[in-house]
């Protein structure tokens, strides 16, 4: 069963009369419970697609054409109020910058349970706190009670990214978008976060759209991936296919750019 279908998505920046297309006729789909990788260099439009799925637009950004079907609902056709009911509820996102993505003057607890406060109004204070603590435990943060009461600046980058993930999964979304979520972290933390996302995917059946410019990371977490280049989806398939038999020239160059451990033999 398809969870997400993106068809012919075209996004542009508009400034006065000038229009610059940044995503062109992008199309791909995702199964329920799948981890799909999106790979491409910076500026390839992959974050733009992610933000468009979430309904987060910058000032001059405009969707010109396309269709997004999420869980049977057409996202681009629905009114804003309805769209808001999806944000943070059935679909949520984790951003690249763990150091700045949390509000510095609000306690972690408030931020983790905020989606509950918005989407599950029927919950009491204590119930919300219980669910938030559970989410903090789900992302394997030790001492959830203590972290609940702390402020973002008291935590390390890796811990903050876990807090971000906790706040994203607290409503048990069907789709989690990880937009370069591990890029700013050092390699060991990166590996931990990837393991965590895989575990959450396996235990809850939550689909993950994993965006990265790093093919190695994509290879580690996804079975299927799409490759974006200059605003277009140039390739999609299983990670193995993409690695073994890259169809596109760009993909071949991308694979060739991966540093390997093998030393080159001297002639």
């Amino acid at each position: 069963m398809k969870l997400l279908e993106v068809d012919n998505l075209t996004i542009a920046f508009e400034e006065g009369r000038e229009r610059q297309i940044v995503v062109e006729h992008a199309g791909f789909s995702m199964e329920k419970g799948e981890i799909l990788g999106v790979v491409g260099e910076s500026g390839s439009g992959k974050s733009m697609v992610a933000h468009c799925l979430m309904g987060l637009y910058k000032k001059n950004e405009k969707v010109i054409d396309g269709r997004i079907l999420f869980d049977g609902q057409s996202l681009l056709a629905m009114p804003r109020e309805e769209r808001r009911r999806i944000q943070g509820n059935t679909m949520s996102i984790v951003f690249q910058e763990p150091m700045t993505s949390l509000n510095p003057v609000k306690k972690v607890g408030f931020q983790v349970e905020e989606s509950l406060s918005i989407h599950r109004k029927e919950l009491g204070k204590q119930e919300k706190k219980e669910l938030a603590l559970q989410a903090l435990r789900d992302v394997e943060l030790p001492g959830a009670e203590e972290i609940y009461e702390s402020y973002p600046h008291e935590l390390s980058g890796g811990m903050r990214q876990r807090v971000m993930i906790a706040s994203a999964i607290v409503c048990r979304p069907k789709l989690l978008i990880a937009d370069e979520a591990t890029t700013a972290l050092d390699v060991t933390i990166q590996a931990q976060i990837i393991r965590l996302l895989k575990k959450l995917n396996a235990s809850t059946g939550m689909s993950v759209l994993f965006i990265s410019h790093n093919l190695r990371v994509i290879q580690e977490i996804c079975s299927r991936a799409i490759v974006m280049w200059q605003g277009k989806v140039v390739e999609q398939g299983t990670v193995e296919e993409i690695f073994r038999h890259p169809k596109e020239d760009y993909t071949r160059r991308l694979i060739a750019a991966i540093p390997t451990r093998k030393k080159r033999r001297n002639p």
Partner: protein
């Protein structure tokens, strides 16, 4: 606690420095209190005798010590200009008036500038914001004393809402006194309101660009809940500093505006005291005003700690 203690020690040291500078400055500037008290026709013997009596011939450190130990107990000596009147009693008559005027101006600023600043930010680039921008730009350029003259003319002479020059002492009729003070308070507050509106607007707009705002939207927040639940507290942090600076300006502004509206406050006392070389009074007023500014800054530092959790860690 450590933070509070540190700030408190800084406060004491600052006050000591200010007292030393104030006292030193008045010892250096030309003019002899004994001469000004007796008049230019006094004989050198008379002047010398009075100098002895007033203790002006003692070494400066000794005089400073004597003055400081008195000042700590609220005793600033006797006025030169009014016979048998202590500085403390002169001040205690006028301080409440100036205090009321300043507090009123400050409250006006808070009550008017905050909603307008937030409104301006919400509608940034659209009608209300552009209109507000124009108005604030104009008001900011007008000095308080000129606004005072305009207000006196409009509300005093044309509309007769108050009687210019007919100040009512607070212990006579507090209500009437407050009604009179509204107008000088407006004259002081208006330019500051314009500044705070602009400052708050820009602060809110700068916060709106931050990453955590995007996170807040991604959780399904509406624009207004992002503004009220996330942005405002962050946007207030720089505004608090600005308000603390404004308090010093309000006090300085009240000295001038008191003249325009004939309000018998500290400002008028200070000006007559300067004209008559009544140094004990001038010293005391300067000390009071600076101490007030320093103490307010101390309170602002404490307020910071309440608003910004990051301060506790940094110390």
């Amino acid at each position: 606690m450590k933070y509070v203690l540190k700030k408190f020690i800084t406060l004491i040291i600052t006050l000591l420095c200010i007292s030393a500078i104030t006292f030193g400055a008045f010892s250096i500037i030309p003019g002899d209190a004994a001469v000004s008290k007796l008049g230019v026709n006094a004989s050198p013997q008379q002047v010398e005798a009075l100098r002895q009596e007033m203790g002006l011939d003692d070494p400066i450190l000794q005089r400073y010590g004597r003055w400081l130990s008195g000042a700590v107990r609220g005793d600033f000596g006797d006025s030169y200009q009014y016979d048998n009147t202590t500085v403390a009693s002169l001040l205690s008559d006028r301080l409440p008036v100036t205090a009321m005027l300043s507090v009123m101006s400050f409250l006006l600023i808070l009550v008017i500038a905050f909603p307008l600043g937030i409104l301006s930010a919400r509608f940034s680039g659209r009608g209300p914001d552009i209109g507000m921008n124009l108005v604030t730009q104009v008001i900011m350029a007008v000095p308080s004393f000129f606004l005072g003259i305009l207000l006196t003319y409009l509300f005093g002479l044309v509309l007769h809402w108050f009687q210019p020059g007919q100040f009512v002492q607070p212990d006579e009729d507090l209500g009437a006194c407050l009604c009179y003070l509204v107008f000088p308070a407006i004259a002081i507050a208006l330019p500051k309101i314009a500044m705070v509106v602009k400052f708050l607007r820009n602060s809110v707009l700068a916060e709106m660009e931050k990453d955590y705002v995007r996170t807040a939207y991604s959780r399904g927040n509406t624009k207004s809940s992002v503004l009220y639940r996330h942005v405002l507290k962050n946007a207030f942090i720089p505004v608090i500093t600005f308000l603390a600076l404004l308090i010093a300006e309000i006090l300085a502004g009240s000295i001038i505006v008191e003249q325009v509206f004939s309000v018998p406050g500290v400002g008028r006392l200070l000006i007559t005291a300067i004209l008559n070389r009544d140094y004990p009074v001038v010293q005391a007023v300067v000390m009071y005003v600076t101490a007030l500014v320093v103490v307010i800054n101390f309170l602002v530092d404490l307020l910071y700690q309440a608003v910004d959790p990051r301060i506790k860690a940094g110390g």
